[in-house]
C-alpha cells in the first residue's frame, strides 16, 4: 500500500490548491487533456497494456521500496490515468491530490520502465499527462511551481536578475583569470563557433562551474561566447511541472538567442534535463522535428576535446571513482561510451556501476522530483535505496555526476545512507587533472593585451 508518511506530507501547492477545485473544472480539464492534447498514442497505450506487471523491474521506486506493488509503474498509471479515463473525468479533488503525489514525487519520468515493458509503452509519457492535468488544475508541489513561476517571470529558473547574471559572469571571469591568466568569458560575440549555455542554478549556487568552463575553453583554444541577455538559461522545470506553454517559451528564448548570435553550435553544461528540454520535449511542443542548431552536451564536448588532443591530462585522479549515467543523456542520448572514455582518461581507478548504461538506475532527483523540495525529501530517499546500494558496491570514493539533478540527488543519497563518498562534476576533475600549459610572463602579458583589445572591439 502507499506510504502513509508520504500521504501525510503537507504541501501548500497541492493541499491549498485542491480546495479551490470544482467537479466541473476537474472534468473539463481532464477531458481537454485526454481528447485535445493526447489522442491516438494514448489510446493505443491504454488498449495495449495487458496489465502484466513486467514494467515493475524497471522502476527504482518499486525496487527501493521492497517491491511494494503500489509503486510499480503500471500501478501508478492505474491509480491515476486509468481512473480518469474510466470515470470520464468525474473525479474528486482528493483524487487529484493523490494523482499529484504519485505523478510528481513517485515517478521521475526517467523512462527506464519503457525499456522493461514488452510492448514499449511509454509509461512516463502517461505520467506526464497526469502532471499536465494537475498543472492545468493548479495542483503542483509548491517548490516545483516556484521554479516554473521564475521561468515565466525572469526567463530563468532561479529568479536571477539581468544585472546579477552579468555580474556573476564578470566575477567568474576574474576568478578564472586568477587560475589561468588571460581567461575571458566573451559576451554576445556574434558569429562565434560555440554559444555556451548553463542552467539557472549555476549562477545562483554553483558559479565556479562557469569559471571552470571558461578555463577549459581557454586551454582548448575554443571560439566561444555566452549570451548576456535572456535565453542564457537552458534549464526547463516547466517541462516537469506540466506547464508546457512556459516550457515552449523557455526553449524558444534559448534557441532564438543562439540564432541571434549566429553560432554554429550550442554547448551546454553538465545537466541532463536541460538536454531533454532543449532537444526533445521543447522542440516537440513547438512543432519542430529538431532544434535549429546542434546541441552538444558537456560530456560530448569534453570527449571531443580529449579525443582530439585539444586538452591533455597531466595527471590522473588516484582515488577510486565511479560514475552516474544520467537518464537524459544516456537513455536519452547514448553518451555512455563517451562518458566511460572520459572517466578512464581522468581516473586511475575507475569502478563501473552495475546495472549500467541505459539500464542504470535514475538518481530519483530528476524529472522535477528534487524540485518538489524539502517536504518530499524523505519520500525521495526511500525511493532510491537501490542507488545507494549500487554505489556502495563499487567501493569508490568519488561519484562523477555529469548532471545537476543527479549531482544534488546523489549528494542527498550519500548523506542519507551514510555512504562516505562525495560527488563531483567532470569539469571539477578536469580542472584538477588537465595540463594548463606553462604560463610564462610573455604569454600572460600577451593575453592581457588581447583582453584589452577584445574589450575595445
Amino acid at each position: 500500500m502507499a506510504d502513509l508518511q508520504d500521504a501525510l506530507v503537507v504541501d501548500p501547492g497541492i493541499d491549498e490548491s485542491i480546495a479551490k477545485l470544482t467537479p466541473e473544472r476537474i472534468e473539463k480539464t481532464i477531458l481537454r487533456v485526454l481528447k485535445k492534447e493526447n489522442s491516438g498514442r494514448l489510446k493505443v497505450y491504454l488498449e495495449t497494456c495487458v496489465h502484466c506487471g513486467l514494467c515493475s523491474e524497471g522502476c527504482h521506486t518499486y525496487l527501493s521500496r521492497d517491491k511494494d506493488p503500489d509503486f510499480a509503474p503500471v500501478a501508478k498509471v492505474k491509480e491515476t490515468l486509468w481512473v480518469m479515463v474510466k470515470r470520464k473525468g468525474k473525479v474528486s479533488p482528493e483524487f487529484i491530490k493523490k494523482c499529484a503525489r504519485i505523478a510528481f514525487t513517485e515517478c521521475g519520468a526517467c523512462r527506464r520502465c519503457s525499456m522493461y515493458c514488452p510492448f514499449g509503452i511509454d509509461i512516463a509519457y502517461m505520467i506526464m499527462i497526469v502532471r499536465r492535468i494537475c498543472n492545468l488544475l493548479g495542483v503542483v508541489p509548491q517548490f516545483l511551481q516556484d521554479t516554473t513561476n521564475s521561468h515565466a517571470a525572469t526567463s530563468n529558473q532561479m529568479w536571477v536578475q539581468p544585472d546579477d547574471w552579468i555580474d556573476t559572469l564578470i566575477w567568474q571571469e576574474e576568478d578564472a583569470a586568477d587560475e589561468l591568466p588571460g581567461v575571458r568569458i566573451p559576451l554576445d560575440r556574434e558569429g562565434a563557433e560555440i554559444m555556451y549555455s548553463v542552467i539557472g542554478p549555476e549562477p545562483k549556487i554553483l558559479a565556479q562551474l562557469i569559471a571552470n568552463m571558461a578555463i577549459i575553453m581557454k586551454v582548448a583554444g575554443m571560439d566561444w561566447t555566452m549570451p548576456s541577455l535572456d535565453g542564457w538559461d537552458n534549464s526547463n522545470m516547466a517541462m516537469y511541472s506540466g506547464d508546457f506553454e512556459v516550457m515552449g517559451r523557455v526553449e524558444r528564448a534559448h534557441w532564438e538567442r543562439a540564432m541571434q548570435l549566429k553560432v554554429k553550435r550550442v554547448v551546454m553544461g553538465e545537466c541532463g534535463h536541460a538536454y531533454r528540454g532543449a532537444v526533445y520535449d521543447g522542440p516537440k511542443w513547438l512543432g519542430w522535428k529538431r532544434p535549429p542548431i546542434t546541441m552538444v552536451h558537456a560530456v560530448e564536448f569534453y570527449y571531443e576535446l580529449l579525443k582530439s588532443g585539444r586538452i591533455k591530462i597531466d595527471h590522473k585522479i588516484s582515488e577510486p571513482t565511479t560514475v552516474q549515467d544520467p537518464c537524459n543523456i544516456v537513455r536519452g542520448r547514448g553518451l555512455q561510451h563517451k562518458l566511460r572514455y572520459i572517466m578512464n582518461e581522468l581516473c586511475e581507478d575507475f569502478r563501473d556501476v552495475d546495472p549500467r548504461f541505459e539500464h542504470n538506475y535514475c538518481c530519483a532527483a530528476g524529472g522535477g522530483v528534487i524540485n518538489c523540495g524539502p517536504p518530499w525529501k524523505l519520500s525521495r530517499m526511500k525511493s532510491i535505496r537501490v542507488k545507494a546500494e549500487q554505489f556502495a558496491a563499487t567501493g569508490a570514493h568519488i561519484i562523477v555526476t555529469p548532471c545537476h539533478n543527479c549531482h544534488s540527488g546523489i549528494e542527498d543519497i550519500i548523506g542519507h545512507y551514510k555512504l562516505g563518498m562525495h560527488v563531483s562534476f567532470i569539469s571539477e576533475l578536469l580542472i584538477k587533472t588537465m595540463d594548463m600549459g606553462k604560463q610564462d610572463k610573455d604569454s600572460v602579458e600577451q593575453a592581457a593585451q588581447q583582453s584589452v583589445a577584445e574589450v575595445r572591439t
Partner: protein, 215 residues
C-alpha cells in the same frame, strides 16, 4: 444450431474481427497523424531493430530477468497462433468450404500444443494471483479475458478427444472461438494489433532520436 454456428456465426465472427481491426487501425492512424511527434519519428531501421530484440528470446534484459515467464510467453503465443491455423480439423473445413489445402500438424502434436496453451493460460492465471505487482492490477476483466482465450482450446481439445457428445461440444468450440475473434479488436487482446506499432515507435524513439537501445 450446429449449422448456424458452423456457417453464419463464423462469418459474423470473422467479419467483426477483420472489420473491427480495420476500423481500429484506421481510426487510430487518423488520430496519430494529427500528433506532430509520432509519425515523423518512426524509423524502419530502428523500429525493426527493437522488434528483433524483443522477438528473439532472452535478447532483452527483462526477458533474462524473467526466464520462466519468457519461456511460457513464447510457447503460448507461438502455439496460440500456429495450432488453429495448422490443425488438421480446421484444414479439412477450409478445404471443404474453399478448396484450400495446406500442411497440417500431426494430431498428436496438435494435442500437445493445445495442452501447452491451456497450461500457459493456467500459468498466467496463477501468476496474476501469486505475484503482488500483477495481482494489484488484475480484476475480473483480466480473468475473463484469460477465459475467453483458453476456452476454444479447452473445447477444441475435448471435442477432439470425443469426451462429450460431438455436436454440443463442437458448437461450444465454435462459439468460444467466435468470441475470441470478436474480443481481439475491442479488448486488450488488441495488443496483437498494436504490438508492432508500439514496439517500433519506442525503438524509433530510442534509436533514431535518442541514440540509445531499448532492450
Amino acid at each position: 444450431m450446429y449449422e448456424f454456428a458452423r456457417g453464419p456465426l463464423v462469418w459474423i465472427a470473422f467479419l467483426i474481427f477483420i472489420g473491427g481491426s480495420f476500423y481500429k487501425l484506421v481510426s487510430v492512424y487518423l488520430l496519430v497523424k494529427k500528433e506532430k511527434s509520432v509519425l515523423p519519428v518512426m524509423s524502419a531501421k530502428y523500429g525493426l531493430r527493437s522488434l528483433m530484440h524483443w522477438l528473439v528470446p532472452l535478447s532483452s534484459r527483462n526477458q533474462r530477468l524473467h526466464p520462466v515467464m519468457t519461456f511460457v510467453s513464447y510457447v503460448f503465443h507461438m502455439f496460440l497462433l500456429a495450432t488453429p491455423l495448422l490443425l488438421m480439423g480446421h484444414a479439412v473445413l477450409w478445404q471443404e468450404s474453399w478448396g484450400f489445402h495446406w500442411w497440417s500438424l500431426p494430431p498428436g502434436l496438435a494435442d500437445l500444443m493445445t495442452l501447452a496453451v491451456i497450461g500457459a493460460v493456467g500459468f498466467f492465471a496463477l501468476r496474476r494471483i501469486a505475484a503482488p505487482e500483477v495481482r494489484n492490477v488484475t480484476g475480473w476483466k483480466e480473468y475473463a479475458l484469460l477465459l475467453i482465450v483458453v476456452a476454444p482450446f479447452v473445447t477444441g481439445f475435448v471435442a477432439h478427444q470425443q469426451w462429450l457428445p460431438g455436436k454440443t461440444i463442437l458448437i461450444a468450440h465454435i462459439v468460444t472461438g467466435a468470441l475470441w475473434l470478436i474480443a481481439i479488436p475491442f479488448t486488450w487482446l488488441s495488443h496483437m494489433l498494436w504490438f508492432v506499432f508500439t514496439r517500433s515507435f519506442m525503438g524509433s524513439e530510442f534509436g533514431a532520436v535518442r541514440n540509445a537501445r531499448d532492450w
